[in-house]
């Protein structure tokens, strides 16, 4: 199989990369009708598979689960999840031939084998859905020409997809139709109906393409979302230990700080996050983040280039073939870092203290969000797509760090994201060595404002505010956040 993106002429590459249209709610007026009475079979009953299925059934659709024979015979968790909730469960042979829509919600790594098993069993003219386009775009999987191929990708963990649905809302979702596989022209209608069935239409839907979703998703997760949060957390913790800050305090500040700080990002964007700081602290954080952007820009660009050229997926698939040797080695190394091994201390840290004592993370987040966004947009990805894959997802990932540190983050994200995260982390740490030498506890570990005059230069502050508020990620963010009026705090502290 050849990388699909690389087979396209440049004009078509740019064309598909540039699909991003925020859909008006009137486009979903037909509800779930396009799938009503059709047989939906979901492959995989993990967090996404089970929760999407529960929502689709609660929306009046006919849902059952196809699992591998071994999963059924051994009564694995996926089998229990589906049967405990009174779903029909069967083998591929039993259920796939009856399906009008097959939804593949297995991990990336299994896609090739799952599709190879499922495709010959699918009936003529049926539809196949993905929630991530890696298999189609990077692995170049060719789907039978009579089959329609769509994507519905909720931009939240499966448990949130369910929780928000039951609250009467939904989570932001990307939908797409693969241009090579829409023989009957029914792809969009079915993708929209599926999206309504999960509640996504209530929280903002972005019309995307397989190519745009993959190239932006990979970029976001490798850089700002996972890579930089990991690097920033480890460097911050090590710096505090080096400077004699109590280890328990340092561990707690880093573990929960990233969540508290990015909660402000979620509601008010980058400028909202910096507005939580005093004026002198804001200026300091701004200056640090400007410096970070200069240092890290070439690394962000390298990641985007490797993603576009297929170099990234090629090396990762080599590691798959090699029994995940690198992935497992890097995972073990992460588990051995001092931050990971030091439990959070039993100290109370007030919400505001997380900002005042952890300016450095505010600077990391601003630099990472803006760099990822800028790099994606320069590469031909539309600002709306770039927003979802950078700023929007950062608080969700930060929440996983707050739960159980980097281990939890790397467990929850896909293996693909985890692999990219380690790649970034290893290149980024040495890059920041000189920068970190200058860092002291005033920006990580202690209150920056303590003992300082709180006055600032008017003109300087106005300029900084203007730069922050007029960044394109803020402009597009304001528009998209408006569609998500019911954003809830996901809080562990």
């Amino acid at each position: 199989m050849a990388n699909y993106f690389n087979t396209l002429p440049l004009r078509e590459q740019l064309n598909q990369l540039g699909v991003a249209e925020f859909m008006d709610s009137s486009e979903f007026a037909d509800g779930v009708n396009a799938l009503k009475g059709k047989k939906i079979v979901i492959v995989g009953a993990g967090a996404q598979g089970l929760n999407q299925g529960l929502n689709l059934r609660d929306s009046g659709l006919d849902v059952s689960y196809a699992l591998r024979k071994e999963a059924i015979e051994q009564k694995r968790d996926s089998w229990k999840n589906a049967t405990d909730n009174n779903f029909t469960v069967g083998t591929y042979d039993e259920l796939i031939p009856t399906a009008d829509l097959v939804i593949n919600l297995t991990p990336d790594k299994q896609h090739t084998s799952v599709i190879n098993a499922v495709m010959p069993l699918m009936k003529q003219g049926a539809t196949l859905s993905y929630s991530h386009g890696f298999n189609i775009v990077e692995e170049g999987m060719q789907i039978r020409k009579d089959i329609t191929v769509i994507m519905v990708a909720p931009k939240c963990p499966g448990s949130e997809v369910r929780a928000e649905y039951l609250r009467g809302f939904g989570v932001p979702t990307l939908i797409a139709v693969h241009p090579e596989n829409d023989p009957q022209g029914k792809g969009w209608a079915e993708a929209k109906a599926y999206c309504v069935g999960t509640g996504g239409h209530r929280a903002g839907v972005l019309k995307s393409s397989f190519v745009a979703e993959v190239k932006s998703d990979l970029m976001g997760e490798q850089t700002i979302l996972c890579g930089l949060l990991q690097t920033g957390s480890i460097l911050s913790f090590d710096k505090m230990i080096e400077k004699g800050i109590d280890a328990g305090y340092a561990s707690k500040l880093v573990q929960y700080g990233v969540e508290v700080i990015t909660e402000a990002l979620k509601h008010g964007g980058v400028s909202g996050m910096l507005d939580r700081l005093s004026n002198p602290a804001k200026i300091k954080a701004f200056e640090l983040s400007e410096e970070l952007k200069d240092i890290m820009r070439p690394l962000f660009q390298k990641h985007q280039d490797d993603i576009m050229s297929g170099e990234f997926s090629k090396t990762m698939m080599e590691d798959w073939a090699n029994g995940d040797a690198n992935l497992l080695k890097w995972r073990a190394e992460t588990g051995e870092t001092a931050f990971e091994k030091t439990p959070a201390g039993d100290v109370k840290i007030d919400e505001q203290e997380y900002f005042d004592n952890y300016l450095l993370m505010v600077a990391f987040v601003r630099a990472g969000v803006e760099l990822a966004f800028e790099t994606m947009v320069e590469a031909g990805i539309k600002p709306e797509s770039a927003y979802y894959e950078s700023l929007h997802e950062t608080p969700l990932i930060a929440n996983t760090i707050a739960r159980k540190k980097l281990f939890e983050m790397n467990r929850v994200i896909s293996d693909t994201a985890e692999y990219g995260c380690y790649l970034f982390d290893q290149a980024c740490k040495p890059l920041l060595a000189d920068f970190m030498k200058k860092i002291d506890t005033d920006v990580v570990g202690k209150n920056f404002n303590e003992g300082k005059d709180s006055s600032v230069d008017n003109v300087k502050l106005v300029q900084i505010n203007e730069i922050l508020r007029n960044h394109e990620v803020e402009i597009v963010g304001r528009k998209l956040r408006k569609a998500m009026t019911a954003m809830k705090a996901i809080k562990t502290v």
Partner: protein, 501 residues
């Protein structure tokens, strides 16, 4: 419930008050709650504290327990000679637990989404964890757990507990610790009749061992050891001789029901719900066993049963909240469940209120948003409300005297008003079916009477009603039929007029 360790005073004299509160003032941004309140709590005085909604009872309790700063206005003097821990334990009116990952982002239907149940500790693990931390011995409470009917619950996850079971867990933890000073905020909320007797006996036994009690309640089935009464008026504590002297909220003036609620619902079906031989289980735990029940249009039902008998689960089948409802012999509003209807189609015909829905409701919702969300059966409010809907909201705000607090966050109001706002949410779309699951939990008798009078009046206009309540004194008079559950089985289906006079 956070125990507070306090220094043991070497020169502690027997005559010294157990707690001495001197000039305690506590204010929130917009109002002074406690205003130079003074209260010496003498040894052997076991109090019930009363007062109107929002008079500062909970604030005072938390200040004594050290949960909110009191600027040294609270002095605690413990008795060295007692074998009991020298501390205060405060049992709040709701136990806010977290899942194993520290998250509190729950939704009320989560109890029924079993696959996610592994997120929280089991009751047993929670109790073991607590015992270890407080150095307590399990044998000390085995009998109490049995008396509460709580043995079977121990393998359940915290998120699976009903509201009554939650209360029991809270009480077991607090009473087990046997602190020298025990403060319980609304001890009886959600408890069934038998559990209330068990609790009072347990409290009396603790007093005999030297525990001093402060209860905050308007309930009048109290432990024998209660011998003192006080209420809070204008931020100050006043002692009274009995509960009958407690300051009460002003009796609500009945107003005319808004016209839109006097319209009979249009129904194209004769039965609201019909179920035959329903079994619901979580793994090995059977929650409903062989349940059959039919509710016809216009009927008024009372649903009863001890805590944990399956009442809320039964209701969840009717209001579309239970994933296991599919694949059963269950029809709702004339349609077989799972025949293409969505849960939103079902919910659109039902107005529901329950303790869980209230506890897990959106913390940031204002009163107005809370009521508006009833149009869409959502938690919180997401969609533009239409003009005629806004008019209906205004009418209901007026009807329940909530107009002046409509922009306040729901959770800043006294409980009684919160319940009225939730009731308003329940009826805003004038649904054919009202499901009221313990709507009077935590309300005093006057408040409950007012609430139930409104329910009676609503019932006159053709609505079907399913009502859950433990106490005959706190139910509406329109109820005609009764179904009683015990351990997940139907114990009785009867005509209520034959049994209650």
């Amino acid at each position: 419930m956070i125990p507070r360790q306090v220094r043991k005073d070497k020169e502690n004299k027997m005559t010294e008050p157990v707690a001495h509160i001197d000039n305690l003032t506590i204010q929130y941004p917009n109002n002074v709650v406690l205003n130079s309140l003074s209260w010496p709590i003498q040894k052997g005085k076991n109090y019930v504290i009363g007062g109107t909604s929002g008079s500062g009872k909970t604030t005072l309790a938390k200040a004594i327990a050290g949960l909110i700063p009191s600027n040294n206005a609270v002095q605690l003097n413990f008795d060295n000679n007692l074998p009991l821990p020298a501390k205060v334990v405060y049992i709040s009116n709701w136990y806010q637990f977290t899942n194993l990952e520290g998250d509190r982002n729950f939704y009320y239907q989560q109890r029924y989404n079993h696959h996610q149940g592994h997120d929280t500790l089991t009751v047993k693990a929670e109790l073991e964890h607590y015992a270890q931390k407080e150095k307590l011995d399990f044998s000390a409470i085995e009998e109490r757990i049995a008396a509460f009917g709580f043995e079977d619950v121990q393998s359940s996850q915290l998120i699976e507990l009903s509201s009554g079971e939650h209360k029991k867990l809270q009480l077991i933890r607090g009473l087990w610790a046997k602190p020298q000073l025990l403060i319980i905020d609304e001890p009886y909320t959600g408890l069934d009749k038998n559990s209330r007797i068990v609790l009072n006996k347990w409290l009396d036994d603790l007093v005999a061992e030297g525990v001093q009690l402060i209860l905050i309640t308007n309930d009048n089935h109290l432990p024998h050891s209660i011998n003192s009464f006080a209420h809070i008026v204008n931020g100050k504590l006043e002692k009274v001789t009995s509960q009958s002297e407690f300051a009460r909220d002003e009796k609500r003036q009945r107003k005319e029901l808004p016209a839109f609620l006097r319209e009979f619902p249009q129904t194209q079906y004769d039965t609201i719900a019909e179920m035959n031989n329903i079994h619901i289980r979580y793994g090995k735990k059977v929650v409903l066993k062989d349940v059959s029940w039919k509710v016809n249009v216009g009927e008024k039902w009372l649903l009863q049963g001890p805590n944990g008998s399956g009442k809320s689960t039964l209701l969840s089948l009717i209001n579309g909240d239970h994933p296991q409802a599919y694949g059963h012999d269950l029809s709702l509003f004339g349609n077989k469940r799972g025949s293409g209807e969505s849960i939103w189609d079902i919910k659109q015909k039902i107005g529901i209120i329950s303790p869980e829905m209230h506890w897990y409701f959106d913390q940031n919702a204002t009163v107005w948003h809370t009521i508006a969300s009833g149009f869409y059966d959502s938690i919180g409010w997401f969609i533009d409300v239409k003009f005629h809907e806004k008019k209906q909201i205004e009418e209901l705000l007026e009807f329940f005297d909530l107009t002046d607090v409509k922009h306040q966050n729901l959770n800043t109001l006294p409980l009684g008003k919160q319940r009225l706002a939730m009731l308003a949410r329940t009826i805003i779309k004038n649904p054919p079916l009202l499901v009221l699951d313990e709507p009077c939990q935590g309300l005093d008798n006057d408040q409950a009477k007012y609430f139930n009078d409104v329910v009676d009046e609503l019932a006159e206009y053709g609505k079907t009603l399913i009502y859950v309540g433990h106490y005959e004194s706190q139910i509406p008079s329109c109820l005609e039929h009764r179904i009683v559950l015990e351990k997940g089985e139907v114990k009785a289906i009867e005509n209520i007029l034959d049994t209650v006079s």
